[in-house]
Amino acid sequence: MIEFEKVCKNYCTSQSKEPKAALKDASFKIKDGDFVILCGRSGAGKTTILKMISCEEKPTSGKVLFDKKDLGKVKKSDAYLIRHKIGFIFQDFKLLPYKTVFENIAYALETCDHDESKIKDEVDQVIELVGLEKKRNSFPNELSGGEQQRVSIARALIHRPEVILADEPTGNLDPYNTRDIIKILLKINEAGSTVILSTHDKEVVNALKKRVLTLQDGSIVRDEEEGVYFL
């Protein structure tokens, strides 16, 4: 379903004209329904992989295929068609600050032209699922970090995406909230969605016992089923 073929990605920084390699010759395949952990230190290339899957970045060389579609050839204005198949969970939550909990979650459905009454029913169901009924009309700045992350997860789930991209979703959370979020991700995976989790949390990686792609300085150094944290 998702395939990287000898993908390289170079960035030019504003300080130096010399391009810096964020990803070097990365090749791997992720099948439907997989749970894959991208593991590595900061700057290893985890986020670059997620950004290429979500069409935020294009590879400098090589191919990124999503359902056999070459993402390097997708125009920025057509990227929304790919993103309708993806749910995003971010470390800094990325909620829309001037929308309520309900509106933030509903926004993902509105972008897919869903019917108004259907949106209301589905959003209310998901809000109940993540336990935020009492915060339905609250704004993000009125929520705790754990609550904001649950809104972010609800927004990622609402349109039943094929793939969930979780970029360090537990980075800003305490151990209790971290455990809850990981449980939710496992449930999403059991329900059939592919989950790609980027993290450098050793305990999370070791506890999950899922496929682990380990990155170091832009290269994939290990690819193990039921892998462990190794850095």
Binding site: S54, S77, Y80, R83, F88, Y107, A108, E110, T111
Partner: protein, 303 residues
Amino acid sequence: MIKYIVKILKSGWNYLWRQGFLSFATSLVIFIAVVLGTVLIIFHGGASFMTGIIKDKIDISVYFNEQVSMDKILEVRDQLLKEKKEVIAKVDFVSSEDAYSAFTKDHNNDTYTQSLDAIGSNPFLPSLVVQTKDPAQYKVVSDYFRQDQFSELVYDVNDYRRGFAIERLSSLATGINRMGLAVTIFLSLIALIITFNTLRLSIYSQKEEIEIMRLVGAKNSFVRWPFLIQGALCGFIASILAFIVFLVVLFIFRGSLEQLFMGFNPFNFFISNILIILIAQLFIGVGLGLISSYFAVRRYLKD
């Protein structure tokens, strides 16, 4: 489609109220631009009024000999209108009686009137008072009456005495127009700078939101329209506010403003052009709101 439009309008309206301070700041900046635009309109009205007054005061009097009949003078007038119609704005016949009564009216019982009484007869000659379309063309008229064919009829053309004054007044009228143009350019530049700053402010504050919207799966139009609606609403509020402020301020200071502008009453001008001014204010306000919002989001929606 209607549901889509309603959704976008609702979204734009919510953004306007929820981004209270940003909306207020944007509206305030647009308000200043609308005020500048309105000042320009009123300034143009004032400039036209003043140049009109100056032009009205610029005329040439052609005095005819005492024995020339009124019919002959009117015939000369018709000939002038026919031959120099591209130059002439207005020609008035003033009989010697009219000139006498106008003089006595202007100099009611002063020494001039007493001297006139002492003469015992009407010393004023019949004349044609000519106004040209362009004050600079008075020479065409004076040269016309100095032709040989009129030497028996015309006693005097007063451009020798008035020529200097006419040229001064004419250059004053041109000066007012030039000043109007300079003020227009200056105020337009200020409005442009203000708009540009609004734009930068919008870009800075809305950058992350636009990125989130796109990541969640919104297509470009779905991201763009609520921002455009929000900008247009800010412009609408700014325009209405500017309209009310002008109405109240010009009404309160109508007396002193009329004195200041030598007879031009900005309040009367505002009232007599109220619809045009309101439309112009809405055009400036809503237009600036739309344009600044458009440019604010455009950068992040490019391929």
